[in-house]
Symmetry: C2
Subunit: 237 residues, 2 copies
């Protein structure tokens, strides 16, 4: 049975981290809200009666099981898609990296929405200017610097984050770098200039045949100013 991914249509958002894993694995999946509209997505969020309601998209349906929270979805899919190591130690380390990438993604969102996700950017642009300055000067270098260190201290070598094989965390690193480079091209270029192993892993993922095919397809929604990574030139520098 095909996996069903439920996420807001029109943006990459957090759903994209799940899509990249499904695409790399060549898994059969339905991007429900993108392909069929958001009615089913909204129904899943509002379901009454006995069950396990997700807090927010993305969520994944696999038969009777529903899993929400991006990192939990990847924790669940990793072994099934062959995108994580076999040992418990490798799996918990891969997940730990994923949770740290998720923290970076949340901060990227808050760089343009530091006050309230329910308000427009235009209602919080002054606070965003201050928060984005800290994000680009301190947080982007800190996150990319830690990823560089993880790669450099990998006993199996610096090609991958965990061991000597591709994992879902590698795919998520690719997406984080893509998003940061879109939203903060100048600040990200500066940070990447001193994180060559991160740059190399980003290139390695982009060169994967299935990822390349996906990025060139119309299934890949372009970045835009409704998503998590937004290009507001006044926030870069």
């Amino acid at each position: 049975m095909a996996y069903e991914l439920y996420y807001w249509p029109g943006i990459q958002g957090r759903g994209e981290f799940v899509r990249l894993a499904l695409e790399e694995a060549g898994a059969t999946y339905v991007d429900v809200a993108r392909d069929e509209g958001i009615d089913a997505l909204m129904a899943g969020l509002a379901a009454e009666g006995p069950g396990r309601p997700p807090f927010a998209p993305p969520y994944l349906r696999d038969g009777d099981l529903v899993v929400g929270q991006t990192a939990a979805i990847l924790l669940y899919l990793g072994p099934r898609l062959g995108l994580v190591g076999e040992s418990e130690a490798d799996r918990i380390w891969t997940h730990q990296i994923q949770l740290t990438l998720a923290d970076a993604v949340a901060e990227a969102h808050d760089s343009h929405h530091p006050i309230a996700s329910g308000l427009y950017y235009e209602e919080q642009w002054q606070e965003a200017a201050r928060r984005a300055a800290d994000f680009r000067e301190n947080r982007i270098p800190k996150y990319l610097g830690w990823l560089e260190r993880v790669l450099g201290s990998n006993p199996a070598g610096p090609r991958h984050l965990v061991g000597d094989r591709l994992s879902y965390a590698d795919l998520s690193l690719f997406q984080l770098v893509e998003g940061l480079a879109y939203a903060f091209p100048q600040a990200t270029e500066r940070a990447l200039a001193v994180t060559p192993k991160v740059v190399a892993l980003h290139r390695l993922v982009a060169a994967r045949p299935r990822i390349g095919a996906y990025l060139g397809s119309d299934r890949r929604t372009p970045f835009n100013e409704d998503g998590i990574f937004r290009r507001y030139p006044e926030l870069d520098g």
Copy 2:
């Protein structure tokens, strides 16, 4: 061998979610930085050479294995401490709830630090006033309302978040409610007035013998204005 917990001394912070699980299980553990100073904690963060460096505290050492990220630590400890169900479905659902609680904790932090964690509150109190207003009016009710819904839709009954047994997510719900009630007493009282199942679970956890003993011990650091949950009366209302 005893578990070793590494976390900033002097605050409950994210380490407290791990402490509550260890205490409830009666596990043998060393709270390294609290009992022995922060040198070992700093060394673990700065370690060079082959390895798997945590991004930030808390991290847990279990023999040779180091696990960072609060939710990942609980994912690892849950089966070992008997604080999660046996099935994969129960485990991934418990973890999903934990990740959502972690999101609420991060937002509680940002309610007083909306611009930069590296700046003092006094340097961002104006932005904090705006963010805290959204947090108490929209976010606290949303998170507690979702937890109420999770309890109400649990097929095994509303006493616990997952199935009919105590899990680490129940303990974390207790800690979230404690923290919110400390930081935002008025807003939290309003939210809890319409989430009676959350209130009941909070009471159930507080009445656990080992939790009660822990809360009354000097191992429980009091809330204070260096932690994640801070009482700034001007942010409540």
